[in-house]
Amino acid sequence: MVYLTARSLRKSYGDHEVIAGIDLELKPGECFGLLGPNGAGKTTTLRLCLGLTDPDSGTISMFDLPVPRAARQARARAGVVPQMDNLDPDFTVRENLLVYGRYFGLGDEYINARIPALLEFAGLASRADDNIKTLSGGMKRRLTLARALINDPDLIFLDEPTTGLDPQARHLIWQRLRQLLAQGKTIFLTTHFMDEAERLCHRLAIMDRGRMIAGGSPRELVDTHIEPQVVEVFGDGAEAWAGAYGAGLSERCEKTGETVFCYARNVEPLLHDLEQRPELRYLHRPANLEDVFLRLTGRDLRD
């Protein structure tokens, strides 16, 4: 069984092809992450899957229903946490959940019975009758997540769920998402935070300029695309050192800002050399998803 399938999707705005032929598939119970820099096409992909915009070509189906033709019916079993909070500012916390449930055609009695548990889940039980305007950013996100659960969805879409949140608030959201996965929910999220993807996702796809450029589990991506060890070198003279010694002692050497990243399978010679140079500071760590991401999407700034 597959919850969501997309085949050969393409979408252009004018001459700009924002989705340039992508395929994806989500199976029940998994957490799939779409990772990409700003403007990679992540949000457009979500909008296509939800039937909120039509692809130029390609096919989509959600719960075996054709999208966009039967997207409305498919959305009855989906929950959505958009990138920008769009809670209803005219309502209290509780009213937001009630009114949103009505959009699904749910009866007030059913919704009201669900609200206490959802408020508990969102950590907002004591704020039920407060106005949205009095909530912090983290509370609003949690309420948006609770709102997306009002119809007890099988598949939850989250578009950059923790962008703009402080570390405490992010950890709380992650914990809740893991709780949902443990309940058997399926999650499709987009993010540009590597730690988020690494912690939550069973499977990832890295997207850039409208294409999927790599896919697999976080571990597989690191194993396939990058040397296992990294030494970051910084301080005055790091660049000169890299040119004279670092490049020769590592398999690959890259510079971003004032930091030199040296990638290698065996970093002993590098570390030995650096110990002789007190003017340089360095950090030795295992390679992670961020290294993969930067390698595949480049180090130039995306605006």
Partner: protein, 261 residues
């Protein structure tokens, strides 16, 4: 513009969810909202009606205040529908992204637009009805025939709501609505017979007025409040229906282009 945006509207009862949401918000501020909506038309009606009316003989077949009461019922319906469809609609569509949130649920943009149009018409109906009630209390409605003004107001509300939603679909910001008020609503206030009969105007302006929806609303409301059946009611109803249907269709296509691209 792509043909898919011009698909016929898909009507469903789901519009009621959107309508009901707006009612729920309105109820929180119902009293101040009603009083605010009533104050402006009342000042015009009473100020001009008594102030100017004292100097005028009953040349319109009725007292001047009765004349202007019928105009005010219709103009306040027009104003209320326009404000709701534009300023409030734009807030929900663009500023608060309420429509985006609704469309993530199993509700379509077509449902949202129908709900918004009917809500703006509902709100304008309440405004017009409040003015009508005051007019009746002042003895300015001659018979029960005045009750037929209620459906006229509903139709007028739908027509102006639809036209307002076209502006909302095209608007980059709140400032844009000033053009519509300056170029369309104010001329309607002055040319369509709210304050004086349209046949007082030069031929050219009478012609312009005959194409404006408010003219047709007033042409029905005024005789109905004065215990007379309006002449050419079918024509007036037809014009208002045409504005409502064409306006809604264009508004829907433009909003689809804006939000579903």
């Amino acid at each position: 513009m792509s043909a898919k945006y011009w698909r016929l509207p898909q009507l469903s009862w789901r519009f009621a969810h959107v309508w009901r949401r707006n009612v729920m918000v309105w109820r929180k501020l119902a009293i101040p909202s009603m009083l605010g909506n009533l104050a402006d038309p009342m000042l015009y009606m009473l100020g001009f009606g008594y102030g100017l009316g004292r100097m005028l003989p009953d040349t319109f077949g009725m007292s001047y205040i009765a004349f202007i009461a019928a105009g005010t019922v219709c103009s306040s319906t027009m104003m209320s529908a326009s404000f709701e469809a534009m300023y409030s609609g734009f807030s929900r569509m663009h500023v608060q992204k309420t429509w985006d949130a609704i469309m993530n649920a199993p509700v379509t943009l077509d449902d949202v637009m129908v709900g918004e149009a009917i809500w703006a018409a509902t709100k304008s109906f309440m405004s017009g009805a409040a003015v009508l009630l005051v007019a009746a209390a002042l003895g300015l409605c001659q018979s029960a025939l005045a009750l037929w003004v209620l459906p006229v107001m509903l139709l007028t509300g739908i027509a102006f709501a639809s036209l307002g939603l076209v502006m909302t679909a095209l608007s980059p910001s709140y400032d844009f609505f000033m053009y519509y008020f300056t170029l369309f609503i104010t001329p309607a206030m002055l040319l369509c017979g709210v304050f004086f009969p349209t046949d007082q105007l030069p031929q050219v302006l009478q012609h312009v007025a005959s194409f404006l929806p408010l003219t047709h609303a007033i042409a029905m409301a005024r005789p109905l409040m004065n215990d007379t059946l309006p002449a050419s009611a079918a024509l007036h109803t037809g014009v208002l229906l045409l504005y409502a249907a064409a306006g809604f269709y264009v508004a829907l296509a433009m909003t689809r282009r804006r939000l579903l691209k």
